[in-house]
Symmetry: C2
């Protein structure tokens, strides 16, 4: 390794010790004949002092912002330095000299618009706020999986190139597959259901695609879907599991990402369990009482959710028991109330974060549900045929990773969260 210490390890206890650090030149200042070099690495900011009589002084003169350097020096305790210690440079090696001017200011003094930020994305991601988002994402993924492993779930990977649509044909990206037409999966839905019919409890975190024509802050053409499916369970079991996941994730982020949240100037919501469950019909009544012209069967979109959120005053809530025909064909209807389904959405303020349901596990009901939606059972035979050979009752959910990150970072546009977002106008970088 070209370095033996990271910035966050340079502490007063190392007083007098020779260390090698490396990273990016975040800033340089001249002060009374000395140079103060702010060195950024994966762990944060560190301070390097270059004295006039040091052989490193001449090299320091050449440095530009974002150049990559390797520095040998001695640690000195100093209360004014970031962690109470700084490095007095003895040798600076320039590993990569950055061009001037930078197309985006990484030190954050000059603000850039979103289009510039996404074009100059590598520099944008180096801004400490964005690096914080990248690190929080990793903690969220880890906690999501750990919670599921502890509940006995098995991690799977399902195919992304598929022959037929999951929920009808809309918004699919065609792939030319050895001369034949195929599609990119919109969701691992049908495959995760089949796998619940094999090992009972499964999850997958992976990409999914929707050819979204509209440009909203909450939609992407390529997104990371967090998918869970469990056999011998219904939608209440699934909501109970989501509560554990959301609780563990917010706890872990709040505890392990204190510095990152400080950089973002944000506090994630405190999750109180149980999370409120509001039946769709009740939500409609609330909206009607607020003067909205809305009736059973209508969608509850973002404008309606904003109003609902004002009334119920919960940061997180489930809307349950959606109208049957508002949900995909695999959703189970309630036994004594066929116009309503065993389904839910998890809402953060007014943003849908997850969606789930009890699934149909009987072939004849699935066929009927397909026909009711104008879909041909024959097109779904690759899925339906397994229901002849022992599919258990099952339930599950899909959660949008970037939307979950909206809740955890306060960033209001998923394109800012995803490293290299893909939408109608963006295919690079």
């Amino acid at each position: 390794m070209l370095k033996n210490y990271y910035n966050n390890q340079i502490l007063p206890e190392l007083e007098g010790k020779e260390v090698i650090v490396a990273g990016w030149v975040h800033n340089i200042r001249d002060l009374g004949g000395k140079k103060f070099l702010i060195l950024r690495d994966a762990t944060g900011i560190g301070q390097v002092v270059v004295d006039k009589d040091s052989p490193a002084f001449k090299v320091a003169n050449e440095l530009t912002q974002e150049s990559v350097v390797r520095i040998k020096g001695k640690v000195k305790a100093d209360k004014r330095a970031p962690r109470g210690a700084e490095i007095h440079a003895e040798d600076i090696e320039i590993l990569s000299l950055a061009k001037v001017p930078l197309p985006l200011d990484v030190s954050g003094k000059v603000k850039a618009d979103i289009d510039t930020r996404l074009r100059e994305r590598v520099l944008d991601l180096r801004r400490p706020e964005m690096t914080a988002v990248v690190k929080i994402q990793s903690v969220v993924l880890r906690t999501f999986r750990e919670t599921l492993y502890n509940e006995g779930f098995v991690e799977i990977f399902t195919p992304k190139i598929i022959a037929a649509a999951t929920e009808g044909g809309a918004q699919l990206f065609p792939v030319i597959y050895f001369g034949k037409e195929a599609f990119l999966a919109q969701s691992p839905q049908l495959y995760k259901e089949l796998m619940a019919g094999v090992v009972e409890k499964v999850f997958e975190i992976g990409p999914a695609w929707r050819a979204e024509e509209s440009d909203t802050p909450y939609h992407l053409a390529e997104f990371i879907s967090m998918d869970v499916e469990m056999a011998f369970a219904d939608y209440n079991d699934v909501m109970n599991l989501i509560e554990k996941l959301i609780y563990n994730i917010t706890q872990r982020v709040s505890e392990d990402c204190k510095e990152e949240l400080k950089l973002l100037n944000y506090t994630p919501p405190t999750v109180k369990l149980p999370i409120k469950r509001i039946p769709y019909k009740e939500a409609i009544e609330i909206l009607q009482s607020k003067g909205l012209n809305i009736k059973f069967g209508d969608d509850i979109g973002t404008p309606e959710l904003r109003i609902l959120n004002e009334v119920i005053k919960e940061e997180l809530y489930f809307i349950t028991d959606w109208p049957t025909m508002a949900r995909p064909f695999y959703t189970k209807v309630k036994d004594n109330e066929p116009e309503v389904s065993e389904s839910f959405d998890l809402i953060y303020k007014w943003l849908e974060i997850a969606s789930g349901s009890t699934r149909n596990h009987r072939r004849e009901i699935l066929e009927e549900a397909l026909k009711k939606r104008g879909l041909r059972p024959e097109s779904f035979e690759f899925f339906l045929r397994w229901f002849d050979y022992g599919m258990p009752p099952h339930a599950g959910f899909g959660m949008g990773f970037a939307r979950l990150m909206v809740m955890l970072t306060g960033i209001q546009n998923v394109k800012e969260i995803v490293l290299f977002p893909r939408d109608k106008k963006r295919l690079t970088p």
Copy 2:
């Protein structure tokens, strides 16, 4: 939940306790007026006894293999039962009655060929040997990630729909992206390099695609790639990291998957550290000494690796320092030996499991390397431009998840390992 116990929890200690289990009818036998029902669930096999005078007896008569049932009964200790205890059924509910005959025998008495198995894949995956493979995969993924988290790595997701090829144009799947032509990523190579230029240590586990025309036991059109990239490191650091990963993974699988390995009748290799590192030139000399007509610059393919493996007698070894022109443009050449690169392959017996190198971090060298390979630097501008703005020295590797699983399960065809494999002739199930 429809069940309150799993098969592996039915132990003699529960003697007399009423339990609810659920799962698949793996087998049914009549013995002396009693029925013995072998119930399979995610945790394994359990034994249920249905006495002639039990109200469940009539229902038991209707059962077919792979039907899904829910059983209430009392636990009785019995040394002849799988875990020393069995359930005496009081009530059997059929949740899903399976058709007769099954297109594939799940209990494993009748062997099926690979084409039948992949066509009847959901039933095939329910065979206890295959369920064992699914579970081992999950343990491998978890251990791979945990090892990297503990080393300070950050998990990332990079785009899968890309504008240009990573390593030249061959074997790409075209995607129709909002009317424009784009491609499915062959590898996250260039994006993970850029991210090492942001947060230093990154990894990604996700799908990648190659339009493989040939039908071999080790190639797939869609595969899971385990990718790692680290800044301020070279290929020796990367090989050291791979040693930790492989050691931890084989240890964890051997310890936590004892039952699964027994089902597979397989013992993974014992990893002795350090893993032997053989320079390519030395490998060529060994092959020449064995009478092969091979010279510097030639590939070392499977037939050659089989011979090499016989000589060096190591289950796992690195072949290092490959000819520069045998490696992609982003590979760094050795400082004093420009015809040789700082690169390696990790070989299990005669199968390449991982491939890595120190990368070039200077723009002018990357441009030259592209030209030498007949590629146009202009086509890689989306990647090259970031090298003007502070790219650190870095190194990394890519590992094929299914190939790693070959080493850990003894299964010799990656199509048997991947849940729903994709190749030239397979797009379903």
